[in-house]
Symmetry: C2
Subunit: 248 residues, 2 copies
DNA sequence: CGTCTGCTTGATTGACATCAAATGGTGTGG
DNA sequence: CCACACCATTTGATGTCAATCAAGCAGACG
């Protein structure tokens, strides 16, 4: 079905990219970004194509330029878990660093554009650009922390807290990109959201309806408008006598 | 209550450490390990003390030498999720790389000994030892992959699959340390196991009993003997018509 | 126009959490 | 050495949240 990408390369400039502060060049000066520009190529990737699959040799990191990419892990029994939705400016591919073979698959949710940073070039670059190693550690640290947040969500939250957390997280990332924080289009299906949050599709659907009935959001298919941000926050910090899970 | 550690330092030698191939020095040659030895100190840490807490400035990485360390994330509502149990040879502290402030707390489960690698020294070292950056990336990559495995567990497995996976994982790590893979003492309480697996203590307790009744394991408090390894594996790869969750 | 796919809504079930209480081991103080 | 309190663990009874089963609906596409 969906092939691994193999599209014409396109020269891009990190220096002029509006995402640079969210992305790899974060905090770097002009000269260093130029060195980075020399090794970065962009690709266009069709909807549902893979950047890489579990088992592929890890040759590069990928920065999302436009569109949205999901990363997925699989187990022996065949079921898979989405471990991340990656928006423009975010990096994908660290799952290949442990063994030089990818432990995840990365697939686009819509037609996307991604920048490729070949690893051997990156290694040279790290030697030439002071502070780039630290940058690398910082970005991987972010990945680790994101995963931990998701662990907390999957391990300790009930359904409505999960969806509220998800919506607030998307909202925050929209804001970081200078897009509207209270109105956006989700690039993922209900199925994908359900998988990511460890829920059934039906539950996600019902929760969207419920949130809308309570005047917290307005939903039309994938278009979401947050009416009452505070109410969303309240759902997840519901410390007092409400529904609570104890296993902590 | 439990204070952050502040114990006398103790000079150690990575070169002579039996854990070196599992730990940071993995694959390094003698000269490079000597450089490493110069910056590493060991501490003894009492049971239930913290290596660091969420919010602490990140100054060092820690390698477990003996004992067991758990790392925990917390949310606004106050509940916390254990994100890792760290055995001898494993590294702790990457959660501080994103912002230079720890996003996790790290606490010992029993009296432990840990090696401290101060970050500023580590940075210098990376400049002097070729391939050390890559080592760093490799180890962080392992951390990322471990987290992903746990995400899969929390998101897609039911209770018995979770415990079976946990036991097999511990068994594997025992084997890697040249200890018995089918007989060991767990350093964590039922409560900790339950928290880690996203279950209630009672459920964990019942599952231990059930596994024992089925002749898969023998349990006496924290002492576990695996009688039928294959049966454990079967539980988690139970593809056919049994109990199944669909949300994938 | 019919088929397909993604989404929604309703009814029912079940896995696991919660509540409650008993048990057993450990440490303390008399 | 015993009595007692305390904690972790186990075991049993009950409750509930979300999964599952089952239609129905709307937009996309050939």
């Amino acid at each position: 079905m969906n092939k691994v990408l193999n599209i014409e390369k396109l020269k891009v400039s990190c220096k002029q990219c509006s995402l640079k502060e969210l992305c790899f060049p974060h905090g770097m000066d002009g000269d260093d970004i130029t060195k980075l520009d020399n090794v970065v190529d962009a690709h266009s990737v069709k909807k549902n194509d893979y950047l890489y699959r579990e088992g592929d040799v890890c040759r590069a990191l990928y920065a999302v330029r436009s569109g949205c990419v999901k990363t997925t892990v699989q187990n022996a029994a065949g079921d898979s878990q989405i471990v991340g939705f990656h928006l423009p400016g975010e990096l994908v591919g660290f799952d290949g660093f442990a063994t030089d073979v990818h432990a995840c698959s990365a697939q686009t949710l819509e037609t996307a554009s991604v920048c490729e940073l070949p690893l051997d070039n990156l290694e040279n670059l790290c030697a030439n650009i002071p502070g780039l190693q630290k940058q690398m550690r910082r970005i991987m640290g972010i990945e680790v922390n994101n995963d931990h947040e998701l662990l907390l969500l999957l391990g300790k939250m009930n359904a409505d807290e999960k969806l509220a957390t998800f919506l607030l997280n998307v909202s925050l990332r929209m804001k970081q990109r200078n897009w509207k924080e209270d109105e956006f289009n989700l690039s993922m299906s209900r199925q994908d959201i359900a998988n990511y949050l460890g829920l059934a599709v039906e539950t996600v659907s019902r929760l969207f309806a419920q949130f809308q009935d309570n005047g917290i959001i307005k939903v039309d298919k994938r278009h979401v408008e947050i009416i009452n941000m505070a109410a969303l926050r309240e759902i997840i910090s519901d410390c007092q006598g409400g529904t609570q899970q104890r296993n902590g």
